[in-house]
Structures are given as structure tokens and as C-alpha cells.
Amino acid sequence: MTRFRFRKASVGERLVRIINYLMLLVFAAAVLLPFWYITVISLNEGIDFARGGVYLWPRAFTWDNYRAVFSDLSILNYFKNSMLRLLLLTPLHLLVTTMAGWAISRRTLPGRKFIAGMFVVAMFVNAGLIPFYLTLVELKLINKFAVYVLPWLFSCFELMVYLVAARSIPDSLIESAYLDGANDLRIYFKIVVPLTAATIATLGLFNAVWAWGDWFTGTFYIRSHEKWTIATYLQMVLQRGASHNVRSAAEAMLAADQTKRITINEASLRAATLLVTILPITLIYPFLQKYFIHGVMVGSLKE
């Protein structure tokens, strides 16, 4: 956005502008600093880190922490669970939610208002955590992998966001499709999805970010450790300081190379795990800015 200037900026205004730029720079540095700190810890020998004094640059550089992360089978298992959950949940979630969104947007559908009302009411009236938990118990979902997927397949809020996109498709297009003999399902897959792809991508992004970071499901609805996702694992480590992982990681490394001395400890291993967990999203999100900015706009403009 450019502003037309009739006169040159005064000294005061130039000063303000410099301060403005400086403040933004400091802000950006403050945002990045914690991540940099964790990177430093992850690249430093754990034992050395425990002595204190390692802050902005690794003092005893090592790749051992990352080697430990990738050689420790239990951590890789948690990554596998997270990936599996993501690959199952997000596509199905998008399918269920956008299909329903498209159907609701068709004004001739009998009972449409009733069904839409059903969705909206469920958005606001929340039965509470305990009833939800008891329902899961009754459905025998507790401690099954399906509990990572099934309850989260539909989101009313996302349906409303998708409605905006669905309504933007011109009726004439749909009419001509009917004339050509297509049924609603075909129309959805062949016309609606390609046209609303941007919105679908945005919803998918938000769902994926949520699914990757959701630790609650694994902590409270799952009992066996092997079924944890990486998010639950990190939460357990945070709350309980899971030192048994350090031992298993150390053993795995020793098994690979007998001559190595063990330099990892819980802090450095955790730092490396953290970084590996956030690396994918960190590398991807700058390229998806277009989508989530679009999503924010649609979500806030509503109807």
C-alpha cells in the first residue's frame, strides 16, 4: 500500500520511521530467538550443556543428539503414529466436511435448514469432557487407533467456512452439469472440488497442523505407549521427564558404534526431538502463506 506524499518527510518523521523498523527487527529477533536457542542446545553435547553457560552458540558441537533421535526406535514409532494419523485424518476430514458443506449449500434440499440447525447447535452446546469420554468408552474406542481419527472427522466451523466458497460457484454451471446428465456426486468431484481447491487446501492445512500437534487425544484416550503420537510423547516428556528414552537412545547408539562415548542427556535429546518435529512445518508454511491468509479472510468475513 503506497501513500502519496506531497512533501518530503521531516526529520521527526524519518526518526519515527527508523524506530519503527528497529522495533520490527527486534520483534522478529524475539520471535526467532527461542527456536535458535533450541537449535543450539540440540547441536551441543548434552553433558556439556548441563554444566551451564551454553546460550547462543554451541560450545561442544555434535550431531550425536540427532543420531540418537533417528536411531531410537521408540521415537521413530511415535513419528510413524503421527504421520499415520495425519494421512488418515486430514483427507477424510476434508472429504466429510466439504461434502456436507456442498450438500448444505444446495437450497432445494428438503430438510436443509433442520440439518444445518443441527450442526450449528452442536457447535455451541458442548456436552462436556466427561460425557464425551464416556461415549468413547461405550463405543470401545479407548486405546484404539481409531480414536485418533473418528471423532475428529467433522468440523462445523469449517463447514461454514466452506459454505462461503461453495456458494461462490455459479448456479448456471451446476445447471448445465445437470443437463449433461451428471448426478450430485459427480458434480461434487468433477466441478466443485477443483473450483474450491484453494479453500479446501486452507482447511486441510489447519486440520493438519492441529492433528500433528494434538497431544490430548493420546494422553487421555490412549493407554498403550506404543500408540502415542509424537505430540503426546513430547507432552509426557515435559510433564514427567521421560528419562527412559535417553537410556534407550544411548543403547541404540552404542549398539551402532561401540567406541562412542555417550554425550547425550535428556535436555539435548529433547531439543533434537523438538527440532525434528517442527522442521517439516517450518519449511513448508512460508510457501503456504497465500492459503492461510485467504483462510483468515474468509473466516472473518463470514457472510
Binding site: 500500500m1 503506497t2 501513500r3 502519496f4 519503527n20 522495533m23 520490527l24 520483534f27 522478529a28 520471535v31 526467532l32 527461542p34 536457542y37 542446545i41 548441563a50 554444566r51 551451564g52 553457560g53 461434502m99 456436507a100 450438500a103 444446495r106 437450497r107 432445494t108 434440499l109 428438503p110 450442526f119 450449528v120 456436552a127 469432557l129 466427561i130 460425557p131 464425551f132 464416556l134 473418528l150 471423532p151 472427522l153 467433522f154 451446476i174 445447471e175 443437463l179 448426478n183 450430485d184 456426486l185 500437534g213 497431544w215 490430548f216 513430547l234 507432552q235 515435559l238 510433564q239 512445518i281 517450518t282 508454511y285 502463506q289 492461510f292 491468509i293 483468515v296 479472510m297 472473518s300
Partner: protein, 315 residues
């Protein structure tokens, strides 16, 4: 009844007068709705029937439905002072967040709006979005590292400046600042998107007119920019009211520990503990009912408020 353009009217078969035939016409749409409806019934409406256990006598031998109806007996938590403490914690945290974390994105948007250099602006923005995509689990772990009493960066700086190391994570005094600052760090960038977008909608002619009238930058800000984004601000303000009762459960749960419990235990955590940790399902369900009622009231207030201010409403 249907006054909107019914695109299908021309194409409906002659049986359009029959109700069932009409349903049959739309069978694919119903199929497409079926999974969503089923999921809602199972996971949103079915649990509602379980809310009734709040009125029953539930002990560990008669899970989960208890033995008999006991009326409002399980609601005696209302006289328990600890319950009100958790409620106070919830309100304090939510209020602080509203006070500090609501204006901050607006400020950031104002700062960014003044930047002419597009690359710089884009770079700062991209960096500022990053924490939003990192889950609280990660951030809580990072905070744990940063504020570690012995080796953390924060205490490193403090001791270098000559102070004594502060036990951040276990202190009740520092809990609120930690919560607010970490929430700020995580969300201020992403939340500023809305305001920046609103600012770009303001017509440059208004700024030109202000310049001609002799307005400097601050005056322009006060008289053109802020009034221009006022609708968005009021809408976002109203939308944030329902979260008052929530106070950011995920973040608080991850940051709370037995040491800072007096200030960190919010209502949702108390309900969680009562139900899933201590196993007192009935009491937890009762508290959940209270919680739901209050948040429903808040949402209704928010919706009415939004309608009054001319913003969009939810229904």
C-alpha cells in the same frame, strides 16, 4: 416456499409433487451429508445424554451410570471455595489475555502498515507467523528450557547482569507473565493478518485528503487508519468473548504444575482432574454442565453484541 432460484425446477421429473420422489432426487446429496450427520449424532449429541450422570450417584463400583438419582447433590461443588478459586484463575487469565493479547496484533499491524519496503515487511510477517504453526506442546517444552533455573537462557542473562537466578516455572508470581508473554509470542503475528488486511482496504484517497489537511503520520493514524479498521476491531472483540470461559486450556495445562497450581488451575483443568484423574465422574459432569451453560450465555451475549455493533452474527 422456495423463493430462491431453484435451479433444479426445470429438470425435476414429473413426480416432483411427491415427497418421497423429491427425496430420491436428492439422494446423492443426502449421501454426502450422511457421514457428517452420523458423526454429529454419535460424538456431539449422544454425549448429551450422558450429561445426566451429573444427577446420579456414581461411585467406582457402579461406573459409569451410578445407582440412583440424587438430584443436585453433585452440584455441591458450588459451595466449595476451591471451585471458586479455579473460576477466579480462569477469569484472571482470560481477562489478562484480553487486555494485553487483544490490542497487540493491532499495534503490530499498525507498525507493519507504516513500512514501505515490501520485502522487509513480507519477511517480518513471515517470521511472525511461525509460532502460530508450532503446537503448544513444543512451545511449552521450549519455555521449559529457556526458563530453566540452572542452565536456561533467561537466567543466564539475569545472572550475567548481576541478578539472582529466578525459579520461573515453579513460581506463582511468574506464571501469569509467562502465560501472557508466551501467548503473545505465539499469536500476535498470525492475529495481525486480519487487521493488516483491513488496513489495506482503506482508500488511499482518505490519506491524501488527510495530508492535504495537514495531518502528520500520527494524526493520519488516529483519524484515518483506526476509524477505518474499527468494524474489524469490534467484530474481533466480540468474537473473543466466548473464549473468556476457556482461557486457553491447552496452553495452561501444559504450563501448570503442582508448584504454580494456586494460580494456574483453571476450571477446565479442575474438571479434567476431577473426572479422569480422581474418577469422580458425576461431579465432573456437573461442573461441565455449569461450564457449558456459562459459555452458552457468553456466546449469546457476544452474538447480540456483534449484532448491535453492526458486525456479522453467527446466526
Amino acid at each position: 416456499m422456495e423463493t430462491a432460484v431453484s435451479y433444479g425446477k426445470l429438470l425435476q421429473p414429473k413426480s416432483k409433487l411427491k415427497f418421497w420422489a423429491k427425496l430420491k432426487d436428492h439422494r446423492w446429496l443426502y449421501l454426502m451429508l450422511a457421514p457428517a450427520v452420523l458423526l454429529q449424532v454419535v460424538f456431539a449429541y449422544l454425549p448429551m445424554s450422558k450429561m445426566l450422570i451429573a444427577f446420579r450417584n456414581v461411585d467406582e463400583f457402579h461406573l459409569p451410570y451410578g445407582t440412583e438419582w440424587v438430584g443436585f447433590q453433585n452440584f455441591n461443588f458450588l459451595s466449595d471455595p476451591y471451585f471458586w478459586e479455579t473460576l477466579r484463575n480462569t477469569v484472571v487469565i482470560a481477562g489478562l489475555k484480553l487486555l494485553i493479547c487483544f490490542p497487540a496484533p493491532i499495534l503490530l499491524a499498525l507498525l507493519l502498515n507504516e513500512v514501505r519496503h515490501q520485502r522487509f515487511k513480507k519477511a517480518i510477517q513471515t517470521i511472525s507467523y511461525l509460532p502460530h504453526f508450532i503446537s503448544w506442546v513444543i512451545i511449552a517444552n521450549i519455555i521449559d528450557r529457556l526458563l530453566n533455573t540452572n542452565v536456561g537462557l533467561a537466567n543466564g542473562i539475569i545472572t550475567a547482569l548481576g541478578g539472582k537466578a529466578i525459579h520461573f516455572t515453579g513460581s506463582t508470581k511468574w506464571f501469569l507473565p509467562i502465560v501472557v508473554i508466551s501467548n503473545l509470542w505465539k499469536e500476535v503475528g498470525f492475529s495481525s493478518i486480519v487487521y493488516l488486511a483491513a488496513m489495506t482496504q482503506i482508500s488511499p484517497e482518505l490519506y491524501e485528503a488527510a495530508e492535504v489537511d495537514g495531518a502528520g503520520r500520527f494524526a493520519q493514524l488516529k483519524h484515518v487508519t483506526l476509524p477505518g479498521i474499527y468494524p474489524i476491531i469490534s467484530m474481533m472483540l466480540v468474537l473473543s468473548i466466548p473464549s473468556l470461559i476457556n482461557a486457553g486450556f491447552v496452553q495452561i495445562y501444559l504450563l501448570h504444575n503442582p508448584l504454580n497450581q494456586p494460580v494456574s488451575e483453571i476450571l477446565d483443568i479442575y474438571i479434567l482432574k476431577t473426572g479422569l484423574s480422581y474418577g469422580d465422574f458425576a461431579k465432573a459432569a456437573a461442573m461441565g454442565i455449569c461450564n457449558s451453560i456459562v459459555s452458552l450465555i457468553l456466546i449469546i451475549i457476544a452474538n447480540k453484541g456483534s449484532a448491535k455493533l453492526g458486525g456479522s452474527t453467527i446466526w
